[in-house]
Symmetry: C2
Subunit: 454 residues, 2 copies
Amino acid sequence: MAESPSIPKGTRDFSPEISSKRNYIFDTVKSVFKKFAYKQIETPAMENLSTLTGKYGEEGDKLLFKILNSGDFLKKISNEELALRNIKSLTTKISEKGLRYDLTVPLARYVVQHRNEITFPFKRFQIQPVWRADKPQKGRYREFYQCDADIIGSNSILNELEIVQMIDEVFTKLNLKVTIKINNRKLLAGIAERIGYPEKLTQMTVAIDKLDKIGHEKVYEELQKSGFSENSLKLLEPILNISGNFDDQMQCIEKFLGETESGTAGTDEIQQLFNYLNIFKFNNKIELDIKLARGLNYYTGAIFEVVSDEIKIGSICGGGRYDDLTGIFGLKNVSGVGISFGADRIYDVLETLNKFPETITETVKIMFVNFGKKEEKYCLPLLKKLRNKEIPAEIFPDNAKMKKQMKYADANNIPFVAMAGENEISQNKFTIKNMNTGEQQLVTEEELINIISK
Amino acid sequence: MAESPSIPKGTRDFSPEISSKRNYIFDTVKSVFKKFAYKQIETPAMENLSTLTGKYGEEGDKLLFKILNSGDFLKKISNEELALRNIKSLTTKISEKGLRYDLTVPLARYVVQHRNEITFPFKRFQIQPVWRADKPQKGRYREFYQCDADIIGSNSILNELEIVQMIDEVFTKLNLKVTIKINNRKLLAGIAERIGYPEKLTQMTVAIDKLDKIGHEKVYEELQKSGFSENSLKLLEPILNISGNFDDQMQCIEKFLGETESGTAGTDEIQQLFNYLNIFKFNNKIELDIKLARGLNYYTGAIFEVVSDEIKIGSICGGGRYDDLTGIFGLKNVSGVGISFGADRIYDVLETLNKFPETITETVKIMFVNFGKKEEKYCLPLLKKLRNKEIPAEIFPDNAKMKKQMKYADANNIPFVAMAGENEISQNKFTIKNMNTGEQQLVTEEELINIISK
């Protein structure tokens, strides 16, 4: 036989079993999004490169998958230009379209393009694959799904509350224990301002984000290298040593920030959010984490990150508020807040903890063994009756060896097998076998339906 | 504002309303596939071009979307070669991957690649987008979904029966009336043989396929141009004039075909299938259509095609048996039979006939009007209670003008609106407004839940 065909590296086939498990995650997330009144949209896999380019930094531009123009893609390029081999400039001439890199830029593009049809606030969710020409490695793929919900066109902190509620509910439904970490970019900005380096906000937060990983000393070193003065680091001390519950932390932060403008806005927003959160009970821990610095170039207010309490795997969900999502396409002053669930990581957590419900892969309730034409004909009406009752069922299509048929039932995780030979037919009955216990019973149609409907 | 952003021609954004309607079709098809024990797989959007090229004919190769290699895509190409501007040869060097053109070649690739993990027969369904660089026009898109179910590794005609049952059930669930047309390639081969032109099977079937459209005379003309003799056309007469029910037609066909080998195999297969079909009642018409020639280069046995009885729009579903699907990847003698639902055309039929259920777009049951902080706080616990009962509900996030809030409820097709001002709060009640009738009632929490749960 010829060499076995394969798929591009970094991409995956999903078998029936894996698809079922993935759908369990998608369906759970989707049901919660819908319950909170987020509505689904879908955008094309291909976007114009003019939409995508420049939105993810220079590194991101390189990771865009680009589609070669159809037909004579060189026709607009002179011989001289071709000979120059300027890859960047040639790319723009032989490729006009690229594959979606995330769901956020397409959302911004969608909102601006359809702004006259949309009644704001616009609560949308989107569950679709994205593509990145990243170096493939364990847990990092070139095609993967994102599950995003965003509300566009509302400043209300109520939206942040609902995002926390959605996170709590999704992970409760998935039977996972998580910690929901919350921060606010304005608090970080206030801190940077207070220690005298408002312009070094990014360096400061990137460094203190590593506190748990590399420890105090190394964080100081990094900050020193970035040009923070001895005095500023001394000022920062109380923030690095912050501890206690929300109220303790807030007291410390408020004292630290004093009257800085963005600081006050930050404490105000975070206080509002926690006031909302205090109205409700949650199944998962919710923490203020002043060190959380996720997506800082992007978020302007609340920042969310979710980690598993049961396994170390990094962030499995994250999001935040961005005050100018659609500005890149010319529509100013539209605030949004959103959340993205990392389906692949959540899959890994569920798989590692063996927490996928067993019934997920049990897609068919019963298989009829095929003993030949006459027996087949005897089984077909009952098979039809089961399906009319919306019970997934099948008959083995060929009169194959019993062993082969049972192997099929086993491989497909089918819990019951029905058999009807001469003996059963003469009594107008079926033998039903429970594939888990091995138990066999001679039963009527009605009894059979009762057994498998349990 | 800058020029509005747009999407590549031939692609589409799906708004919440359109997404809901599309999901209604996908969910219906999926539920039937699952009930008949077909299991979902997913394959990557990108396949290696070596997998795709040469599988769809020369025209098809041109319609493949090709992905530009990352990095310096010219590095393997010499200056001399570049100067030659041989597009076809350059393409193979600057592009290694392409977008999926259909779900059939990826299925064949999947089956061969994973043959050692699969327990045959393999009943798989797949609902994913495909991409074709076709000239966009009304009803033809460059990105569209296919909904395919196939069973691989079984010759049994029982599979053909189940495919007809699935078609009947899908369209019954969608409340559409259709005709399911059935033919068999072997019958057509028998006819070509009988009139003395076994090698001109394709020309013959392509011509007689047009009978209803262009009439007898023009079909004869076309056949003459293709080199069929006067005598052969005379012989063909009874086939072109065939009419009556299944038995009448079969009598005519059997008499016509006599003892030709493929003819006998064809009548045998079609008789078997109709024997199965006669066991059951169907909601839709099922017809033998000897003129049906769909996908002839591909199918080797049964051929299916479904047309709407209510609107002229061409085929909305089709399929057939292919005896050597996986041969292209080196795995011989694996027979399959499958069906593909055309989601876009089915969408157009439902839309034109106004047959989408109204409730589809009613995604949220109730919206709480936001009258300010105090009123908000009063509403939040009930909102949470509703969601705990899995009732999709929301509160308008901002204390905006009443008009704006009601406009939002209207635009989102929300059937009930709840209001609580000072008066309601003092009585521990809510005013609920039925948005369809305009009727308002002052009710308790419990009464409200009852009203919207109806």
